[in-house]
Amino acid sequence: MIIKANNNTIHVPASITVRALLKELNYKEPVAVWINGEQVFLQDYDARLVKQNDSVRLVRIISGG
């Protein structure tokens, strides 16, 4: 299926979870994720599915510490 990830149009497997999408795109956690403007919480990464034409925003959280 086709989705938009950070404004880039990409092909990913259908019915993919957020966790699997991060793996597919080779993102290492921690990553903040928004789907169509709504933030997905960490506890929902394994359950929330990304759908055709969704617009996904991914930002790596790399701060102090």
């Binding site: 990553v31 403007g37 925003r57 790596r60 959280i61």
Partner: protein, 631 residues
């Protein structure tokens, strides 16, 4: 609600004469400098002359908490140690969490000043108004864990908190730290060396009663939903699960993990030392600070090698003893962390200085004759623990490295200065300004050397406009968003200036920057104001808060100006201006012209003279610091 401010109780201890007295600071003054190094700098600038040797009796060593320390909420139990730094020669500021800060407050003190030098080693025991000087002959020379056990036995008291130096501080290692709980470090700026120079082994406080909020009912509105807050904050939940080291692999994936003494930004074996790997291997538990719900502290164990008593490595420690040194052996990093906590040495400066020595060795600037036969090469994990012990004891090559990379480079000569990745003499932490470009400015201008905890990092300006992080940043005037973190423009300078002021206010109030902050943290600016109102009846505005932060920065910068520092010292190592040689961020660098323009803009926004980089008279007056001009 009343709008009065509590008074501060200051305990003054003269180690030369073994005398002490207390004094009360009026609430009107305390409100301007409500804790931390703002209070510390206020006290130091009242009396300390410029030009003193940081390791002389003339230096002051000040432990400060704040007006809100000890309240029953996450992220308020931190203390700041202020002094003149022996590592940088600037104002020194070093922060730590744990339980000790809340118990300093529970004993009734906002600040404890040490002056002079004891003839013989002592430790000081505080139980409310009862203050004792105790002979430290049985603990001098002991590592922190042993010393803690002996002190408790001598006092016949388990219910104490202890902040102490290890042999590193006793031997005046320039980056010696002060530890409480044997695993919470006031790590940076060499504050442990100052304590050692005073023959002060430890500050011990009896545990006291919890502080009650001024308005308990409203205060509960901030704390009752803390579990939900954590569950709905990706950064905080991740922090609890995998600690600060959870971000190491992501940083590497971007190509900005400091590798081989900043020569590279990509470490192929990063996965072996990242927080998730730690969680799956040597992690046996999570610890916390007084009243904090996040529990980000790591507790690790390697049977027969690493004792969980000394906690576990943070991201900075995993980077400096790991990728900085080309070392992918997590157990050796955990051991290095333990040794630093036993000997009382800052893990950042120590790991970075060892990585500097590794590059010197590989370039032939240090030979086996210098190292006593040690092969100090990148990737040699075995040599790290040997070097830490030598540094703490100032044995052989350790005596040179105990001076830090900046001074060691001067002694080595032959071009070694270019390999010291330091600012104002202090080694840079593991957040790469080639990646987060606003840090290029902060690392250069920060009064006590390069610091990653003095401002918000660039990545949060990449989040969606309506995200909580961006909305919070908007409250402090940072509204411009970015798609590319590597930009360095006026918007990023504004992030540097405004978020530095906010972070400076947090440091003044001794608040944890993972819990309180202007972006991703558990609580944002609005909740911080509520915490002050409901906690101590302080009806504060965001403007007052930001001015408190700005005032602290200017106090430090003024202190530095008296010591001869100026814009000429606001420099970065040349290596940051060179393109990264490989990895996902190949070619990334700090653009020198943009950096200089950004610094100029920073000085303009800060109200500092462009030629001098120091606070102008009008800036000092605007911040109610005109009294400095009369000194």
């Amino acid at each position: 609600m009343q709008n009065t401010f509590p008074k501060a109780k200051i305990l003054e201890i003269d180690l030369t004469d073994h005398k002490m007295e207390t004094r009360i600071l009026d609430g009107e003054i305390y409100r301007l400098y409500p804790g931390g190094s703002a209070l510390g700098m206020y006290l130091m600038l009242q009396e300390m002359k410029p030009g003193i040797d940081p390791l002389s009796p003339e230096n002051m060593l000040i432990f400060s908490v704040s007006a809100v320390t000890g309240l029953p909420i996450s992220g308020q139990s931190r203390m700041v140690i202020t002094t003149k730094s022996p590592l940088t020669g600037t104002a020194g500021d070093s922060q730590a969490g744990g339980y000790m800060p809340a118990h300093i407050k529970a004993n009734g003190y906002d600040s404890i000043i040490f002056r002079g030098r004891s003839e013989k080693p002592v430790y000081v025991y505080i139980d409310g108004d009862r203050i004792e000087f105790r002979d430290a002959k049985n603990v001098w020379g002991k590592v922190t864990g042993e010393a803690e056990a002996i002190i408790k036995q001598e006092l016949g008291e388990d219910r104490v908190e202890i902040a102490q130096i290890g042999p590193g501080g006793e031997n005046l290692v320039k980056y010696a730290c002060i530890l409480n709980m044997c695993n919470r470090a006031n790590g940076r700026n060499g504050v442990g060396a100052v304590m050692g120079s005073k023959n002060l082994k430890a500050l011990v406080v009896k545990k006291g009663k919890a502080m009650k909020p001024a308005d308990p009912e409203n205060f509960k509105t901030l704390t009752k939903d803390v579990k939900d807050r954590i569950a709905h904050n990706v950064a905080i939940e991740g922090l609890g699960k995998h600690g600060t080291d959870g971000e190491l692999e992501g940083t590497n994936h971007e190509g900005y993990l400091i590798t081989d003494n900043w020569k590279k930004g990509y470490f192929p074996d990063a996965q072996k030392i990242t927080g998730t790997t730690m969680s799956e291997s040597i992690l046996i538990g999570r610890e916390t600070c007084y009243a904090c719900a996040i529990r980000c502290k790591r507790v690790v164990e390697v049977q027969g090698k690493v004792d969980p008593f000394y906690g576990g490595p943070e991201y900075e420690t995993c980077a400096t003893f790991g990728s900085y040194c080309g070392n992918s052996n997590l157990e050796s990093i955990a051991l290095a962390n333990q040794l630093c906590n036993m000997y009382g040495i800052d893990t950042i400066s120590c790991g970075a200085t060892i990585s500097f020595a590794m590059e010197c060795y590989e370039k032939g600037l240090l030979t086996e004759k210098d190292t006593g036969g040690l092969e100090i090469k990148f990737g040699n994990s075995d040599v790290i623990s040997i070097l830490i012990e030598k540094i703490a004891k100032r044995e052989g090559i350790g005596d040179l490295l105990a001076e830090g990379s900046y001074r060691a480079a001067q002694k080595i000569g032959k071009g070694a200065q270019a390999l010291s990745m330091s600012v104002k003499g202090q080694e840079m932490p593991a957040h790469n300004p080639q990646f987060k470009q606003s840090l290029a400015v902060i690392y250069a201008v920060n009064p006590f050397g390069a610091d990653h905890q003095s401002s918000e990092h660039d990545v949060f300006l990449m989040m969606p406009t309506d995200s909580p992080e961006r909305k919070r940043l908007g409250l402090i005037g940072c509204t411009e968003g970015y798609d590319d973190y590597s930009v360095l423009d006026d918007g990023k300078v504004l992030l540097a200036v405004n978020s530095q002021r906010f972070y400076s206010a947090l440091d003044t109030l001794c608040l944890c920057q993972f819990v309180w902050g202007p972006a991703w943290q558990l609580y944002g600016p609005e909740e911080l104001l509520q915490m002050c109102r409901f906690g101590i009846g302080w009806d504060i505005s965001l403007n007052e808060l930001m001015r408190i932060g700005e005032r602290r920065i200017n106090l430090m910068r003024y202190f530095n100006a008296r010591e001869g520092f100026s814009s000429k010292d606001d420099q970065l190592p040349e290596r940051l201006f060179e393109p990264l040689p490989d990895g996902p961020a190949k070619g990334a660098h700090v653009d020198k012209e943009k950096f200089e323009a950004a610094k100029k803009k920073y000085y303009e926004l800060a109200g500092w003279g462009h030629g001098t980089g120091n606070p102008t008279v009008s800036t000092l007056k605007n911040l109610q610091l005109e009294w400095l001009l009369e000194k």
